[in-house]
Amino acid sequence: MNDLLLCAPILVAAGTGILVMALDLLSGRDDPRKGFLGVVTAAGLAIAAVLAVTLWPGAPAFEMSFLKGVLIVDGFVAFFSALVLATGAAAALLAVDHLPEQGIEPGAFQTLLAFSATGALAFVAAADLVTMFLGLEVMSLAVYALAASKRSSGFATEAGLKYFVLGGLASAFLLFGVAFLYGATGSLDLAGIAAGLAGGASSAGADRVLPQVALVLLLVAMGFKVAAVPFHFWTPDVYEGAPTPVTAYMAGAVKAAGFAVLSRLILTVYQAPSWGGLPLSPADALLGLAVLTMVVGNVLGVVQDDVKRILAYSSIAHAGYLLLGVWATDPATRALNDGVPFYLLAYVAATVGAFGVVSLLGARGEEDMRLPRLAGLSKRHPVLAAVLLVCVLSLAGIPPFGGFMGKFNLFKAVLAADPASNVTWVVVAVLNSLVALYYYLRILLYAYFREPEVVSGDDVAAAGHAPAIRSAPAWAAIGVAALASLYLGILPGRMMAASGSAASAAVVRPDLSAALAAPAALAPGKSSPAPAPASPTVSRRAAVRDAGRDAARDATRNDRDAARNDRDAAHSRSAAPGTRPPRPPRPSRFAAPPAGGGSGR
């Protein structure tokens, strides 16, 4: 029962897809009121989001019996799931009136959107690599279809196909990486792999090649999903060709989910202390990708003339900043940089708002959004122009908008992680933001300071005189996005706190299922693990972790650890769940003295 309750957000999202499919069938084929399907989708996803943030952050208090080892639900997952679901809801609202304009059939579209969000939830919440792969595929396959959903347009079809082919390649890499990891550790769940890799630290160098290759493959696959250079090539073409609500979804939800999994995977699996001796530590690879991504994204953004392509390169550049944030973990705590979730939140709000405005302007089957089409927007549609202004300035990182607070906190945290050596990379990132200003301001230049060229007859629409789509749901979505950008910039406190607690939960600690480290535990739930004999590796990790923590974090983490230990204990005793017994004495294996001085990455 607890399993069902805890899965509720995922079930609601999936149920929304099924409901929309049914409603689509029930309503007539050419019902002009198909727009309500979008509203239903948005409502369903919003409910799922609310369930996620209410149920999941406190989840360790529950007992998850059957799905233990399949799904992890905690504050981290709740944060990113809510972000993904909200983006999905926004995309659904944006699509309500966009689809008829573009001649896209709404029923299938909204169904696919809901299923894609379902997949994204499973992807984010996965506790083992198979579930993760499954989630990724459910999410991605739906998005491939969504990108190509405008069948009348060769442009969109090409985008969908391109994304599909390359995405298939990336999935293959991921699968390869999973296989290698399994080969190296004999485990498929995150915590087990982490324990396995840590255990292999003392073994011969040949054993380390396998996980290293796996790391590269996983990085390539995840880098593809978050559009990191050099795996980004599909991004501008697909963002440009896909219907704009889908673009918003890809730039927001898919990227957020990708980053959630990327950071959890990298931090959980590859932050073992044993990696220092290898030629390429995961940290080096991440840093290289981060710098390359932000530089290439911004430089190429400068030469674009199409708003959607500019925003595509902007999203690539933002992936670069985020990778830098994921890279710069605090060496003491090894937790995720607490600026990352907030940055993603601010980025997603702004980018969804910006693409939302673009989707409202792309009327009458026009995907082409060259900059001159924005000319005079501030006069024709002052509200749309204002939303664009807020969102673009937020993306550019100008106060008082969310993007600024995001960048500020992210860079601050990167600096705090290692003040001496990270300053170079923060300077690089800030210089990149400066370059980015050029293309962001170009958008605003056209929207606010350029008069539309005087044209006659049929060219009117092409030159930017086409009326914007009138759509209350879409206006609500972009309005919320713009207000969120403002809110995050002016009153960031609440969301910063949420971001901090999400970040602190990002790393799945091996002690969650330390007992599963043994290959015998591959089938979770079959045998209830008794407290395993203390493995020297685990105890050392625990000791290192304990030593490096500051007092405040210590308190909360200990609480959580205690809760988890309670749960483990309760599980083995089959005691009644749902209540939180008082904190027991720590199991003896945690009290083992530190063996060796293993530290650093």
């Binding site: 290759v213 590269v216 593809f224 190429l300 400068v302 030469v303």
Partner: protein, 651 residues
Amino acid sequence: MHALVRDNVGTLLWVVVFAPLAGAIVNGILGPRLKRGTVSLVGVGAPVVAFVASALATWGLAGREAVSTTLFTWIQAGPIRVDLSLWLDPLSAVMILIVTGIGSLIHLYSTGYMHGDPSYSRYFSHLNLFLFAMLLLVLGKSLLLLFVGWEGVGLCSYLLIGFWFDDMAKAVAGKKAFLVNRIGDFGFLLGMFVLVFWMEGSLDVPALRDAVDMGGGHFVPGGTGVMLVTLALFLGATGKSAQIPLHVWLPDAMAGPTPVSALIHAATMVTAGVYMIARLNFLFALAPTTMAIVALTGAATALFAASIGLVQNDIKKVLAYSTVSQLGYMVLGAGVGAFGAGVFHLMTHAFFKACLFLGAGSVIHAMAGCQDIRLMGGLGKRMPWTRATFLVSTLAIAGVPLLSGFFSKDEILYKTLALQPASGPVAGWIGPLCFAMALAAALLTATYMFRLYFLTFSGELRSHHAHPHESPASMTIPLVVLAAGAALAGYVGLPIEHLNFWEHWLHPVFEDGAARFVSTGSHALEYGLMGVSTVVACGGIALAWALWRGPLTHVPAKAAAAAGGFYRLVCDRYRIDELYDAIAIRPFQALARVTHRWLDAFGIDAVLVNGPPRAVGWIGSIVRVAANGDVQAYAAALFVGLAVLLWLVIP
């Protein structure tokens, strides 16, 4: 009733200041949508309300030294604290009565003068805003607040000189006025900054006065520091009150509408410099050297401007130079320690010069915009009211006995000779020299003013295009009121000890400053000088009559020919503008051109601003070749990335 007013002076002061601001806001924002009558009602109503409040506040002040009222703390930064406080003492009471009283009349006059103007509401909005700033200047308790008003009137002056900004010459005149004033403002600011340090944060005038009274510290009589500070402040006064060497903007400022010239560039704003010196009399009196420089500047300006006034042919230019000259008298009065006399002349001058300017406006109105007095003549018959009021004011400014100008000018002349610093004169010749220049200026004043009068109103009309007519009542009523003031205002300051209400009223303000001067004069000297003044005034009038109306009309042309180069020099206003152009403006423009071309256009724009984006764009255009839309190429890139990473990984 008196008790009620007495208790509410503070509130009244805020009414005084904010009524014009409210008028400015209403007309400024809603003006274009309001009916012309409503605009007039708001525009004239605001100063009238302010005037009534001023009169009540002054009544409520009677018997007390000062009333202060604070709205809120404006600036609080470390030790520096500036409150938004108003300060009403006898001096500011006089000033607000002049500003709002004459201001009301000029606003009324404007409803007639500006009747057909398309920017009617903008005009009244700016004029009301000017009143607000001027009243803030006068009532500000802190020097900083005074400076806010100082800049505010400068802004309004700029806006109103360039009121018809589509005429390039007028727009340029406005800019010139603003820029020349900035030079003076620089001095004012410098003086204030030093004072802030000396005062450890407070710039309140009463606090400053107490500090000076206490003595010690930096406030040493005759000290160098005080001298430099007062000189810096005086530089501000020369800018605002158009004294040598910063007088050049005022004649050009006549480009504004004539009522503006009357209000801002004759009666009120230009006297701000004199007001500031009078306000800080206790400080200036500490520095005899500064005072000598002030006196010499004033006297020289009085003579210099009067000589130019003699050869001008534009009716407003004559009055402009006359204003510069009369401001010289006021500054002279302040410079010799006769602060009361300086402010007295300020007050009488406000009446007769406002009347003269409005009369000139009436003439220009009648002549359909023509301002050249060589084309006028014989207007007296057609414009009896204008003529009569103009004549009264001309007599007053010429210094004919029993009219206001006589009393005020004579008092300045007398005190120039009689007063000297208690610590001894800086140099013995300064007093007599100033007196001589002022007396010569008095002669010239009578001459050029009556030249103006005769050429304009008597004889026969020399223009064949104009059809002069008397102006409407809205214009003649203010003329009559102002002429009455010009005739009678002098009687508040009769040169008889117990009848001199003026000195008595202002005594508390100037007590400290005046105490540092001793009088060496006597009643005999005073009455003797009255005789001299009378002779000079009548002589000047007679000269003007003879040269431009009577038997010697051929002489001026001959004299001009005889004087040759000097005559042309005077006609060209001593070529001061050309001098400034050569030594300041051209070098500065050259510098600006070089800076613009090399530092800004090349260094900053081309290299620093556009350089990096170009470079980035250039790199981008090369890199973008990779993004060619080809799926196979993209997939290949994926593999290349994977290969590179793997190559790095495999040991």
